[in-house]
Assembly symmetry: C2
Homo-oligomer: 396 residues x 2
């Protein structure tokens, strides 16, 4: 796999080493033209007719299938739309309904907080003893039991990159009669995912990280074929109706994952995402994963050789680590600001984590070595300990 060719597909600013594609992927060069076409040739010229003539209505499912290929989903079982938090909620509501009589959603304390918030919003709404139970990530397997309705996990920990074993945990969950919801926010486009092979029930994810769909790009949801006609969307919007334009007052869910559509899809955002998906054509996740493991191993080696004040927060074993590397530093926020000022963009995650994402589509060994060297310099010189690097910004 020649990643020099995929790198050419992205706009990367001069003087920047971008190690934050796990937070927001960079601009695919094709996106600006595709979006301009959607605005000018489609919205501008076709007006309302764009829904038919430009194929807008089919766009969420068409892109869903392209994402599906990267995560081992069966064709026709992934739908894009809304935000990840909304899709988490839909998956949880549908999963709970598939497991009547049980009232516990099990998750772990390393999960992304919004997933927990959405789950708690749902159980609070349901009342009647529904609850969210969280355990430490390493205690999940032992906490599976017959009273649990749904196991909701993010496969790759957003802070540390620690990976859950999707296949093993799904199998163990099923043995207890538990329905699984996997959040692939840091998996899709980052690691090899085999939803069908693992027997996952539901999966959700976002497209603005490793898939490079742009700020606020829509989320996606997967429903296993065996649940496709039984799953209830709960957020039963008109575009998930069997016949939206019949304007019936009675809701009848559309066949399969299309019922997970809710409202009018964000066509401009989807146009950017579709252009981003072009970069994945011909790319195999096995190649991406192999390159990612080489890059993250290299970064750990370089940093540990030159930055004695940093402590690895990620698993040392690349097979148990997503496509990111995190280090603890007591002044992590200031160190990251100093790094950004030197053109190395990673991000900070409270309380003390420096997080670096590695994205073989546009990042190679040269960038990894250069970033490690700049990090070492900032730490060795104490350059990070300046007032401007301690001042907190709204978004970290």
């Amino acid at each position: 796999m020649d990643f020099a060719k995929t790198k050419e597909l992205f706009h990367l600013p001069e003087g920047v080493i971008y190690l934050d594609g796990n937070s927001l992927g960079p601009l695919p060069k094709a996106a600006a033209g595709r979006v301009a076409q959607t605005l000018e040739a489609e919205w501008g010229e076709m007006l309302i007719k764009g829904w038919n003539d430009a194929g807008w209505m089919a766009l969420p499912g068409r892109i869903g299938d392209r994402i599906g290929r990267l995560i081992g989903a069966e064709s026709g079982h992934v739908m894009t739309g809304d935000t990840l938090s909304i899709k988490v909620w839909q998956a949880l509501a549908a999963a709970l309904a598939l497991n009547p009589g049980r009232k516990v959603i099990l998750s772990d304390t390393g999960n992304f907080p919004s997933d927990i918030y959405m789950a708690e919003g749902l159980t609070t709404l349901l009342g009647q003893g529904y609850e969210v139970r969280t355990v430490a990530p390493e205690d999940v397997a032992g906490a599976l039991s017959g009273d649990i309705a749904v196991l909701m996990l993010t496969e790759v920990d957003y802070r540390t990159g620690r990976m859950h074993d999707m296949a093993a945990l799904t199998k163990a969950a099923h043995a207890h009669g538990i329905v699984t919801v996997w959040d692939l926010a840091h998996s899709a486009g980052a690691i090899e995912v085999d939803l069908a092979g693992a027997g996952a029930d539901f999966a959700v994810g976002c497209t603005y990280k490793y898939l490079n769909g742009g700020p606020g790009a829509p989320a996606f949801i997967y429903v296993a074929p065996r649940h496709a006609e039984a799953a209830k969307p709960a957020l039963s919007g008109w575009l998930g109706h069997e016949a939206p334009f019949a304007f019936d007052l009675d809701y009848r869910p559309a066949p399969g994952v299309a019922r997970m559509r809710v409202g009018t899809p964000p066509i401009v955002q989807l146009a950017a995402l579709e252009a981003a998906m072009d970069a994945w054509d011909g790319v195999e996740m096995a190649d991406v994963r192999a390159a990612s493991m080489r890059l993250t191993d290299l970064f750990i080696a370089e940093v540990e050789a030159s930055c004695p004040t940093l402590t690895l927060a990620s698993p040392r074993d690349a097979t148990r680590r997503g496509s990111q590397v995190s280090f603890h530093h007591p002044h992590g926020y200031a160190v990251m600001q100093a790094l950004i000022a030197r053109g190395v963009i990673g991000d900070f995650r409270a309380p003390d984590i420096l997080r670096f994402g590695f994205t073989p589509l546009y990042i190679g060994e040269q960038e990894v070595r250069a970033a490690a060297a700049i990090l070492a310099d900032i730490l060795a010189t104490g350059a990070w300990d300046a007032p401007q690097f301690h001042a907190r910004k709204a978004v970290t």
Copy 2:
């Protein structure tokens, strides 16, 4: 008010008379440039830093305030995001929680189906006797009673343009202890709305119709100041958290309407919407409404004088009608397709309605007279009764 100037702000294709701005507003000329800037100068160059440096995180509230001015909302109490169906659901869930002990959502059979679907999705989820009750639009006032928790109405009927009296129904609802949720899909940018004056509790709406935000532009939600700190978002996502970037595992709602934020906002879509909102600068809704009433009165007069096979479906009294005019025709679908083929774009709503939206920002008397003349010609010649005009498209 000189609408010749606002007309200049929109791209309107040659040879088209666009009477479907109530379904999808046309492209504001400024949108393409604004979106390109967001993609290239912001996403492309700032990458993740755009959330701070380009002000992305504040965009949903900033645009919310600009919409708020057009609907009589107090400053700081309107938030954009998600889709209208999601915002309907959030408003309903919050409204029900403000009225514990009552379990009925009252709506009318003229409401947009998705609002009913979302309400039923919510009451089905809640179980325990929660229900959606619908009555004919004219029977709403008489159906208000002490067992109703929430009155959910769309102010302007999407098919006919018939308007509910928001102030009177809100007052009557409050007299019964009922919390109100108003859907402004066909009101915002179309008619004068005075949410604060009417004492509305919640309101929601979309921005791709009269506000011209583009296909799939985000929705908005209003929460009255008196409820702002008590309303629960139910869909409790991280961006509605008091401190999203603290990544706490406990959800604490942000102050006021900001808690109605859920996931990552669609920045590209919001950029187009922000450009669209520029067209409203200096525009007073009283002037828009006066012009709209003149245009719709004129269209009715012209059509009734020349199209004997059409029956008016909209209220004849302009003060009881939104910014649209609808007619019944037994072959409404084919007639509309024939009209579109002649460059007059309106739309069809099942079972037999020809619907025409009038948008003074870019439509004037000349277009109204020309559209009526073409409609008369199509009906008089029977040109609509051709096979290609009967073939149904996916989206109507």
